[in-house]
Symmetry: C2
Subunit: 298 residues, 2 copies
C-alpha cells in the first residue's frame, strides 16, 4: 500500500517480511491428529491475512531509531500484531460489527464459525503475552513491555475505546468523546507500538516521550483517514464494503467535520508528527513512512 521508493521501500519490505515470517513461526503444531488444529488454523488464517503491519513496523523502527537492535524487538512486534488481530476477529463477530469480510477474505467467523473465531481471538490475546515472556530480552525490559502493552489494550485503551464506540452507536456524540474514543480505540495501541520499540532498545525517558507524542499525532491522523476511506474509499482496493460506518449510524470525523476539513486535519497532524521526528537521527525512513500513511488507499 505504501508508495515508498528506494532504500525506504526496501526497508519497509524487509521489516514486513521478517514480521510475517515471525508470525508464521508460531503456527508450529506438527502433532498428528492435533485436536486443536482448527484453532491453530483460525489463528494463522487471521494472522497471515496481510494488513499493513503498521504497528509492528513502527515498533521495529523506533527500536532502531533509539540505537537498539531491531531484531530484538521482533517478538514484541509479533505480539503487538497478535493483539491487533485478536481485536479485528472479535470486532467482526455478529454481536459486534457483524462484518462478513476482512481484507478481501471471509472474516474469521465466516470461515471457521463463531465459537472458533471467539476462541482464536482469546488465544491470540494470550499468546501475545506468552511471546513477550518467552523472548530474549532482560526480564526488566520484558515486564516494561508487558506493562505498556496491557495498559494499551485494557479498559483505558483499545477495549475501553470499543466500548465507547458500541455504546454510542446511532447516537450523536460530542467532539470530546469522539477524540477520547479514538485515542483509546486505535491511538493507544499505536502509541504502545512506538513506545515499546524504544523500551526494547532500553531508551531514555525523553525518547519515550517523543515517540509517544509522535504516535498520538499519527494515531489520530490514521483514524481520520480510516473514516475518510470508509466513506470515499474504493471497495476493490479496501477489500471490504464502503459505508459501514453510515450503516451503523456512527459519528466519525467525516460526519462532524466533512471530508475536506477531515483531510486537512490529517495533513496537519502528519506535519506535526514529522516535526517531532527531528528529535531522532537517521529519520529518513520514518519520515517517509509517516508521509505515506496519509496517502494510503486502504
Amino acid at each position: 500500500m505504501m508508495k515508498l521508493t528506494g532504500e525506504n521501500k526496501e526497508r519497509l519490505n524487509f521489516y514486513i517480511d521478517i514480521i510475517e515470517k515471525k508470525l508464521a513461526s508460531y503456527n508450529n503444531f506438527d502433532e498428528e491428529n492435533f485436536p486443536q488444529k482448527n484453532l491453530a488454523d483460525a489463528m494463522n488464517y487471521s494472522l497471515s491475512a496481510g494488513g499493513k503491519r503498521v504497528r509492528p513496523v513502527l515498533m521495529l523502527e523506533f527500536c532502531r531509531l533509539c540505537g537498539g537492535d531491531f531484531q530484538k524487538a521482533l517478538s514484541p512486534a509479533a505480539a503487538m500484531e497478535m493483539i491487533h488481530t485478536f481485536s479485528l476477529i472479535h470486532d467482526d463477530l455478529p454481536c459486534m460489527d457483524d462484518d462478513d469480510f476482512r481484507r478481501g477474505k471471509p472474516s474469521c467467523h465466516k470461515k471457521f464459525g463463531e465459537a472458533i473465531a471467539l476462541l482464536a481471538g482469546d488465544a491470540l490475546e494470550n499468546l501475545a503475552f506468552e511471546v513477550i515472556a518467552d523472548c530474549e530480552l532482560p526480564d526488566r525490559v520484558k515486564i516494561n513491555l508487558i506493562r505498556e502493552l496491557s495498559n494499551a489494550v485494557g479498559i483505558n485503551g483499545m477495549i475501553g475505546g470499543q466500548v465507547i464506540d458500541i455504546e454510542n452507536e446511532g447516537k450523536g456524540i460530542s467532539e470530546d468523546l469522539l477524540y477520547k474514543m479514538h485515542s483509546c480505540k486505535t491511538g493507544a495501541l499505536i502509541k504502545a507500538a512506538c513506545r515499546m520499540g524504544c523500551i526494547a532498545a532500553d531508551a531514555d525517558g525523553k525518547k519515550l516521550l517523543n515517540a509517544g507524542a509522535f504516535a498520538e499525532k499519527i494515531g489520530l491522523a490514521f483514524q481520520i483517514i480510516d473514516d475518510i476511506l470508509n466513506v470515499a474509499g474504493d471497495e476493490k482496493v479496501l477489500g471490504k464494503p464502503v459505508g459501514s460506518d453510515i450503516k451503523h449510524g456512527k459519528t466519525t470525523f467525516v460526519t462532524i467535520y466533512g471530508l475536506e476539513k477531515s483531510m486537512q486535519m490529517a495533513e496537519t497532524l502528519t506535519n506535526e508528527a514529522i516535526s517531532i521526528l527531528k528529535e531522532f537521527d537517521e529519520n529518513e525512513f520514518i519520515v517517509d513512512f509517516t508521509k505515506n500513511l496519509l496517502l494510503r488507499k486502504k
Copy 2:
C-alpha cells in the same frame, strides 16, 4: 460450600476474604461520567459473583507451603481468578454454551448484552497480565508467573481444551480424547494455580513438580465431580440447570463410566493427591481442603 472446621475453616474464609477484597480493589474508576463504566460494571459483576475461588486459594496456600509470604501471591491469585472469570463469561455466550445463568444470577451477556460481555472477557484476560506485571515481586518471578499462566491459558491449555470440547459436541469421543480435553480445559489452570504459588515463593524444582502432580490429580477429580453434579446435582444448590451436558450431547466421565464408577475414580484421585501432599510440611489445611473438594455440592 466447604465443610472445613476450626482453624482450617478460618484459613479458608480468610483466604477467600482477602482474594475478594483484592478483586474488588481493581474496580476503582471514580471519574465522573466515565464512558467505559458499563465495561467496568460487567467485569466487576462477573468477578464478584462468588464462586469457590478454588484456584486462587490453591495459589496462596502453595505459596505458604513453600515457605513464601502468601500476601505476595495475592496479585497473581487475583490474576488467576480474572482468567477463570473471563473463560466463564465467554463460555456462557450464545455462540458457545448459551447459558442464561451463572451462579444463580443472569450470565454476563444476559445482564449487559453480548458485545459488552465479549469485551468484559477480553478486558479481564488482559488485566490478568497487567496485574502480574504491576505486582511487587522481582521481575524474574513475574516473568515466570506470566509464562506459567499464559502457557496454561493458550492453545495447549484451557482454550485448546474448549476447542476440543466444542468440536466434539454431540459426537462420541474416545477415553483418551476425553482425558486430554479435561487436562487442557480445566486441568491446566488448576495446575498453573498450584505451581504459581510455588513460583511466587521462589520454591525449588522438586516442590514445583510435586505441586504439579498434586494438581493433575485434583484437576481430574474436580472435573469428574463437575460431570457428576451436572447429572445428579441439586439445581437450587448449583444455581444453574442440571442436565446441560446431556442437552448438548456431551461425552462426560458419567456417560463413559456411569455415576458410581465416576465417584470411585474421583475418590481414588483425591487419595493419590493427598498422598503427594506428604512432601509438604504443615499440610493440615491443604489435606482437609482437598478432601472437601470431593464432598462439594456445587
